[in-house]
């Protein structure tokens, strides 16, 4: 939550949580802990939330680790949930591990898929019913691991924004609200960390919802060459994205990163410039409706999933695209 608004990723997870809860025949519950919680109920109930736990306290915004940890740990001890899903945001990735350590439960970060299934322990023959399969890339995205948590609860997982799709279940769905006494959950010493300064800017980059993305990789060569991508994006009314290698090299800002460790996108057109196609990048853009790859290496891995492969330097190809786009739209 930021300023009373439920985060996009939480709405996506409520949607996923609803379908898991329906499959398991259990309740979907949500937790909101912040200074402003007035409109949370109306924001979350349409996703099919059966019960909303509210913790309202001025000291809970902005987020700090320890009070939120105490709230979750104590509530989970009382409620004993089977599954806990969290956004793999900076907050979720700060809070999730602390809570899982305190409860001795496992946590799987950055899941790309969550399913319910059974498991048989080979050694003992013991069968576990209805476990959460926490499916995530590992090893830099080169493999996909199916993680399970047979004996410990809750089964905890984080998911990045944009990986799941949000969908209203029923605009008139109504659940129950439980307002908790914050002081029953937190201790005075949970507030030892103080935020003395904070600058949050609304991001100007909106890659996730952009219909057209011009994206650059390490092969673009330099921050200066990225200007070509901005020029093309400007003409096409597109957003500029980047691969992890390009972000690591300092060619583009981190918030433009597309892939398993960045944003997952599904635009109608994805123009990949100088991107070789690391698996972790492809996983974040393969659902694009149309993919154009511009690369001077005709055997770049990304070419195998592209609809159009243009073999050439971006310095010559992009200006031509701009030229002929302009000529043909006049």
């Amino acid at each position: 939550m930021e300023e009373g608004r439920v985060a996009e990723v939480s709405q996506e997870l409520l949607t996923k949580g609803r379908s898991l809860a329906t499959q398991l025949g259990c309740r979907l519950e949500a937790i909101a802990a912040a200074a402003a919680t007035d409109s949370v109920a109306e924001q979350v109930f349409p996703y099919g939330v059966d019960r909303l736990h509210i913790f309202r306290d001025d000291r809970l915004s902005p987020y700090t680790t320890l009070p939120h940890t105490s709230i979750l740990v104590e509530l989970f001890k009382q409620e004993k949930p089977q599954i806990c899903l969290m956004g793999a945001t900076i907050i979720g990735r700060d809070l999730g591990p602390r809570v899982s350590s305190a409860l001795g439960s496992g946590l799987t970060a950055d899941c790309t898929s969550l399913e319910i299934g059974d498991h048989e322990e080979r050694k003992t023959g013991k069968v576990y019913k209805n476990l959460l399969y926490q499916i995530r890339p590992a090893f830099g995205g080169n493999i996909v691991a199916w993680i399970i948590n047979p004996d410990h609860r809750p089964q905890m997982a984080t998911v990045r924004e944009g990986v799941m799709k949000k969908e209203i279940l029923d605009p008139y769905y109504k659940g129950e609200v439980v307002e908790h006494q914050v002081n029953d959950f937190v201790k005075e010493e949970d507030f030892v960390v103080s935020i003395i300064d904070r600058h949050i800017e609304q991001s100007k980059v909106n890659i996730k919802n952009a219909p057209i993305i011009v994206s650059g990789g390490y092969g673009v060569g330099s921050k200066e060459n990225f200007d070509l991508l901005y020029q093309l994006a400007d003409v096409l009314d597109a957003e500029v994205g980047a691969s992890r290698a390009a972000v690591d090299a300092g060619f583009a800002e981190h918030e433009r990163q597309i892939g398993q460790t960045g944003v997952t996108v599904r635009p109608k057109l994805y123009i990949a410039c100088g991107i070789s196609g690391q698996i972790q990048h492809i996983a974040g853009m393969q659902e694009s409706a149309l993919i154009i790859s511009i690369n001077n290496d005709p055997s770049a891995p990304i070419n195998s999933i592209a609809d159009y492969v243009i073999t050439g330097d971006i310095e010559t190809v992009i200006p031509k695209m701009i030229k002929y786009y302009r000529r043909n739209t006049k």
């Binding site: 995205g141 960390v193 103080s194 600058h199 698996i279």
Partner: protein, 290 residues
């Protein structure tokens, strides 16, 4: 004033640029072909420790890593860059640990070291990208954590001020010590190896390395105690074996799949004017652009 700093580091396969030479014929990764490196963000963490040491001479930086015997390489790497001491936590019983069992083992090693003011580590390791071990170590030790740190702005007795990098902004927090700080890749890069330190520490070894390599100038390890890299087992840190390694890991790997993407029938263009012209007309005509 001087501080006791522990830097948690991991030796990782360099997964960032899996080139064609690291791919097997069946499209899977040949892990053995990847170089083992000092996890990049752990180097950012080491730099923050070195900056504190510059401001407060007498500060002691101890690197702590868990891994197989060859992970001693990153301890030497850290000594070459300015760390004072290295500890390798190694035991077959640690193998197969998930983040929780790893954090337990590391926290037991920290207990064994005794007093400390600051624990620094990278935000996450590039082989798992979980970012869980730092916060879990903090929880096991019962001390606060500051994640996503970009710069340590001030350290004084019992308190630290840290700038954090958030999704769309920055935050400055103050926190009592001891605390765990996990450092982002956007923080200052680690300084290179120092030639003098390289000379000083090039023979630094763990006891196992000295035994395996049959080093004949063994007397240097008694005359120069700083060449002895500490090596600890499960028993040395008085850890409960049931909470270590595979048996101490609540999460289990059910299966591993190789990633195979569905190849498409691509149209190949040379980039000539005529072809780009036609492509743009086509995209405009089918309303993809324009």
């Amino acid at each position: 004033m001087a501080f006791n700093i522990i830097v948690l580091a991991k030796q990782v396969p360099d997964t960032r640029n899996v080139g064609k030479d690291a791919m097997k014929a069946d499209g899977t990764v040949n892990r053995a072909a990847l170089p083992a490196i000092f996890n990049p963000e752990d180097l950012n963490a080491l730099e923050q420790a070195l900056l504190i040491k510059e401001s407060y001479p007498g500060t002691k930086i101890t690197l702590l890593t868990m891994g197989p015997g060859r992970a001693a390489d990153i301890l030497r790497e850290g000594l070459f860059r300015g760390a004072d001491d290295g500890v390798l936590l190694t035991d077959r019983a640690f193998a197969g640990a998930d983040t929780l069992a790893t954090s337990y083992a590391l926290s037991m090693a920290v207990h064994k070291m005794g007093s400390y003011d600051i624990i620094l580590s990278g935000r996450q390791a590039i082989d798992g990208d979980t970012a869980q071990v730092g916060p879990q170590v903090a929880e096991k030790l019962g001390i606060p954590q500051i994640t996503y740190a970009e710069a340590i702005e001030e350290v004084k007795a019992g308190q630290i001020r840290v700038k954090r990098r958030l999704e769309h902004g920055v935050e400055v927090v103050e926190c009592p010590l001891p605390a765990v700080i996990t450092v982002n890749g956007s923080a200052a890069p680690c300084r290179p190896r120092n030639a003098k330190l390289l000379q000083k520490y090039k023979h630094a070894k763990t006891i196992t390395e000295r035994q395996v390599e049959h080093i004949d100038y063994i007397d240097i390890y008694s005359s120069r105690p700083y060449l002895n890299l500490t090596e600890w087992s499960v028993a040395d840190v008085e850890a409960d074996p049931r909470q270590c390694g595979l048996s101490g890991s609540p999460t289990k790997v059910k299966k591993i799949e190789n990633v195979v993407f569905q190849a498409k029938e691509s149209r190949r263009l040379s980039g000539s004017d005529a072809e780009i012209d036609e492509l743009m007309r086509e995209l405009i005509a089918n309303h993809t652009i324009g």
